[in-house]
């Protein structure tokens, strides 16, 4: 259970970063950290003690593999996370070009 707790602490650090920081790059960093924590949590739930890698090989027993389903889902989620991060970073760079700052309290004027 302590591993779940450490994973939760990592998620909370990312949540604090998103809620408290005012710099856009810091907010992106918080989102990335939360993503990592969620991926880690899925893999932890699917882990089997003393299990082996979910790949068939001829001279091994089958019954004690780790769960392959969360690994497949997280594999999809990692790539989607990369796409989302690239998208947010591109929007942040455009905001910087327009307003000259990353501070979210100063980005409040609607400039055409």
């Amino acid at each position: 259970m302590s591993v779940y707790f450490l994973c939760l602490v990592l998620f909370s650090v990312g949540l604090y970063c998103i809620l408290r920081k005012r710099n856009l790059i810091k907010i992106i960093i918080g989102i990335v950290i939360m993503e990592y924590a969620v991926h880690l949590f899925f893999i932890l739930v699917g882990y089997r003690m003393n299990g082996r890698v979910p790949i068939h090989s001829p001279d091994q027993t089958v019954l004690d593999m780790v769960d392959p389903l969360p690994q497949a889902l997280v594999l999809t989620a990692i790539v989607i996370g990369l796409a989302v991060t690239a998208m947010i970073a591109a929007i942040a760079m455009r905001v910087y070009e327009k307003y000259g700052t990353f501070d979210i309290t100063k980005i409040r004027k609607l400039k055409g």
Partner: protein, 172 residues
């Protein structure tokens, strides 16, 4: 599982440094330590495919964030309603932790997953799909529509980035 906990503590320290650091470039590099630590954790947790993908994706994330950060490194002020903001933040995190506690105490013990669906994949996967790697048999056969959706999201995001960063036709 001591090495797992040590790596997790290393990742948490890296994340805290990334949050607290004033310099944006140092902060991005601290995030890099978190991602590479996560890659090692995947190796320990018997997920080699994920470790490879995480390594590549982490390097790409660092490149993207450095491109967004470099030569824009402004000192940012932390003035304003410091006490109120911190209080609200911790109240939100407290509410989140209460809800996650209600969920997490129903989980199975660490190291003993339920694996109702995965039992069938493990027993029948090799015969039904012909793939020795069960992860690829799941993403490319049992859940191929997921992968199709992933490719759609990827191309949509690339189009979005190209549209946002486009220089032609922009008003001066």
């Amino acid at each position: 599982m001591l090495e797992l906990q040590l790596l997790l503590i290393f990742m948490i320290i890296g994340a805290i440094i990334a949050v607290k650091e004033k310099d944006l470039l140092s902060s991005v590099i601290a995030v890099g330590t978190v991602g590479l630590g996560l890659s090692l954790v995947f190796l320990i947790l018997k997920a080699p495919d994920l470790a490879i993908v995480q390594l590549v994706v982490e390097i790409l994330v660092i490149i993207i964030l450095i491109r967004a950060t470099i030569r824009r490194d402004l000192p940012f002020s932390t003035s304003g309603r410091w006490f109120f903001n911190t209080l609200v933040t911790f109240v939100f995190i407290g509410v989140f932790l209460v809800f996650i506690y209600l969920y997490i105490k129903d989980l199975p013990q660490f190291g003993q997953p339920i694996m109702k669906i995965a039992q069938r994949f493990i027993a029948e996967g090799l015969r039904e799909t012909g793939a020795t790697n069960l992860v690829s048999s799941v993403i490319l056969d049992y859940r191929a529509y997921d992968t199709l959706g992933e490719a759609t999201i990827l191309f949509t995001a690339v189009m979005g980035v190209l549209a946002v960063m486009r220089k032609v036709g922009r008003k001066k």
